[in-house]
Symmetry: C3
Subunit: 144 residues, 3 copies
């Protein structure tokens, strides 16, 4: 159920590198946010560098043309279920961002080049195939 | 007021097919979600197949490289107004997904290749022209 | 913290014009929505005209192939902090849309070609670098 959009500048990555970026983000979602292993849906959007506008130093970071914007659409319910075990949902989010950066770092990305934005919605807002409601209310006791 | 982003792989569709995809989604929004006939705003994003990462079988579906990711940004108020007539908002969502798949199926898409994500926001979050607030609170009794 | 996606048709703008569009939107966010000067993250997505589907006249406007779809992802907390000074959050939104159109108009865009959609999220949903939570709850008294 995470739907991930990655935006980066054309010609700054190889196809292998882009696959690694997708892998790193997906592993973080599995490891920290309890996403199922095979629940992977990602779009990598390559735009001309001039169309990827970023502050080089906002909040004291040192961003380069290799910056990646990561936007994650995620079930609010899933995060809240995790939070009820782990503490506050903000702790789950903090751990998720940290793990994404750690995994991307292992793939060779600079931490300063990673921007993450999370958008949450209720679980009824997903259909993974055939127009079926994927997480009906009757399944509320399961978070899958 | 729906703003629809469709992401699909380059070279998997003709321009006619893409127009049919847009039509099918828009008709579902009119038929089920009470969108005005002429309230149609859609972006079709074609990315290299390697940049469209999808699980072939998550939740038991059988996805192909013709998979389409559909993301719909929609007024929460509109859905809630419908729900107050039709029952629960989840029923409106369920009917919407089913109709999208039905209409896309009539256009020749495989149901297993359809992924839908809905993002809701209050009606004050739209401006359709000249920087005007399109749905001011004073018009709260109308859902248009 | 605003993350802005602008979608427009290929070959309708020069690179200079696209930079002006980005500038105009960013200045509006600074002037009206209290965004920090250097908090600028924008993606300009150019798609084939046939993939940018818009109603030419929804709500009485007169849209052209130069239409721009602007989607702004923004902290709900920031808007609410502004609203507590300025009145209602709807007034902040109204002023923001108006200023965006005014600034884009000064850059030569037709007001009828401007569509704006705002998506809000809590401040915990951002990481601007190194996987750090950029707006931790402890900093709740500051809106930065």
């Amino acid at each position: 159920m995470p739907l991930v959009y990655v935006t980066l500048a054309e010609r700054t990555t190889s196809q292998d590198r882009r696959a690694q970026i997708g892998d790193a983000i997906h592993r973080a979602l599995i490891e920290v946010a309890n996403a199922p292993e095979d629940d992977r849906f990602q779009v990598i959007n390559e735009v001309p560098l001039a169309n990827l506008i970023y502050s080089p130093d906002f909040m004291g970071f040192d961003r380069s043309p290799s910056v990646v914007f990561i936007q994650i659409f995620f079930n609010r319910d899933r995060l809240e279920a995790l939070a009820s075990q782990a503490g506050r949902s903000v702790d789950v989010k903090r751990a998720l961002y940290a793990r994404i950066a750690e995994n991307l770092g292992a793939a060779g990305l600079r931490g300063d080049d990673i921007l993450i934005n999370l958008v949450e919605m209720p679980k009824e807002n997903w259909s993974f195939g055939r127009g079926e409601l994927s997480y009906p209310p009757a399944a509320a006791s399961s978070t899958r």
